[in-house]
Symmetry: C2
Subunit: 325 residues, 2 copies
Amino acid sequence: MRIALDALGTDRAPAPEVAGALRSVEADRELRVVLVGDATVACEHPRVEVVHAGERITMDDHPAQVVRGKPRSSMHVAMELVARGDADAFVSAGNSGAVLALAATRLKLPGSVKVRPAVVTVLPTPAGPLVLCDAGANVEPKATAIAQFGALGAAYDRAVHGRERPRVGLLANGREPGKGTALTREAHALLAARAAAGGFEFVGYVEGSDLFRGVVDVVATDGFTGNVVLKTCEGIAEGMFGLVRQELERTPLVRLGAALVAPALRGVAKKIDYTEVGGALLAGVARPVVLAHGRSDDVAIASAIRAAATFVARDLAGQLAATFT
Amino acid sequence: MRIALDALGTDRAPAPEVAGALRSVEADRELRVVLVGDATVACEHPRVEVVHAGERITMDDHPAQVVRGKPRSSMHVAMELVARGDADAFVSAGNSGAVLALAATRLKLPGSVKVRPAVVTVLPTPAGPLVLCDAGANVEPKATAIAQFGALGAAYDRAVHGRERPRVGLLANGREPGKGTALTREAHALLAARAAAGGFEFVGYVEGSDLFRGVVDVVATDGFTGNVVLKTCEGIAEGMFGLVRQELERTPLVRLGAALVAPALRGVAKKIDYTEVGGALLAGVARPVVLAHGRSDDVAIASAIRAAATFVARDLAGQLAATFT
């Protein structure tokens, strides 16, 4: 199996990408990584291949322009490898809007299948993994697209977490059916109608607080709200751990206690650590496309590569596409 | 000073309301509370007055119907006391949509002032209190209303937290000005134009993760997104503390450590405890209206009453209204 990795994606590229690629091939003897980057990229491992690409897509590049412009960028060249079948999946920590736009044109699903590609991400919660879709691709989707996001999330949950009949909720400002906007009320009706055939249970509206209570496996929402929720969770988790660290430094006695509970707290941190999850999946395209965080270190990049490899092994892209045929 | 308290609001009403009223008058010798409720409501304190109202607004009552229906409900009668000037502020833990609809008609700002009432809430963050507006009143507002929410939030922040020139951000799915929806881009332009005259600094778009990094004092958003963010924060805070508690019970050594760090962790919990904050304010009406959580206990109710008293003492309603004249 070969994973194409855009080596110029992270804020400190290409160091995390090169180290992450090495880390992942060392952990999995079946894995090959194609590192696509400029002249600064070098790696001596027999299962890491380096492909050179002179240009770099930055955060300032507008997604729509990226599709036609900068054809020699690392992102274009890596995506091309996947489109041609020379690699099985694509991983990048770069401009996610640009990845999206490129993947939507280069890795389009064949034939009659009409799907709006959407970002699927997994939120670690005390009750287990929660699938969120769309986490940012479609900022102003129609109700039919939001209903699709629920079905995509359910297919992902079934394939990745093995839950036979995922419980899907629609994110809103209250649980009563009268809540929400005109858009969410329309999506509510569509999801209710689609549930039986889609092999999931539709539990109706869920609130922000329901995300952490284990009452749903999948949350469907538009990409604007999904992105805000995802980043709010990341921010609050970081903020709270910062606060805990501060407080546990205060007195010698507290520091002693802190040393005793440190492994337990690390366990908690690990359970809700976003870098462990390994990046978001762009669902609704022909091959697995994994979006890693711009701040990713080598561990996070290796985790994104591992996620991509798992998706390939389970033919996730095919399973998600089948939802719509 | 007299606060009108709807005694039939919480899930376990009227017990938390009666105990909360007592708690608040005992803490503040200047305070009087008018407890409005049915025959089960009784209180013997000289500064707690009981007014009887036969009906109760439930969570199933539709806000629009509440305005005309159930005129003998505790919510109506308590609101009427405030409208007539027999009480200075209103507190309820009941159906917030109903409170909103009632307040919008009974406590309308006089004359030419055109404001859409909005919910202002304070999120505790490691970097200090963060003002969020709108937290749920206007699910599908226009861009002009969202810009008003920023100005309302800034006026609140100035009056309550004493920040002279609050930094206002507009919530979106990214920091670049090209992000967001058509609605947020219009609101972005309006807020930028309004900042100088409004006495606040507009920092542009902020992401969910920025809420906890101390880069803004006020976040403006529509009531749908605001409500989702607020409840997500509540949910994740609860979920994480549940997880920490679980992990700290595992082994005798960890339990010993946990005992030593318990006061420090309680300090953290207090810093981000939503019941301590004391309810949300309905801004843009003639008198302070405080919305408490349906799950409030007596401490949370007392805290909401204290918040209402502070708002009255600082003439917050007047200051917020002045923003628009």
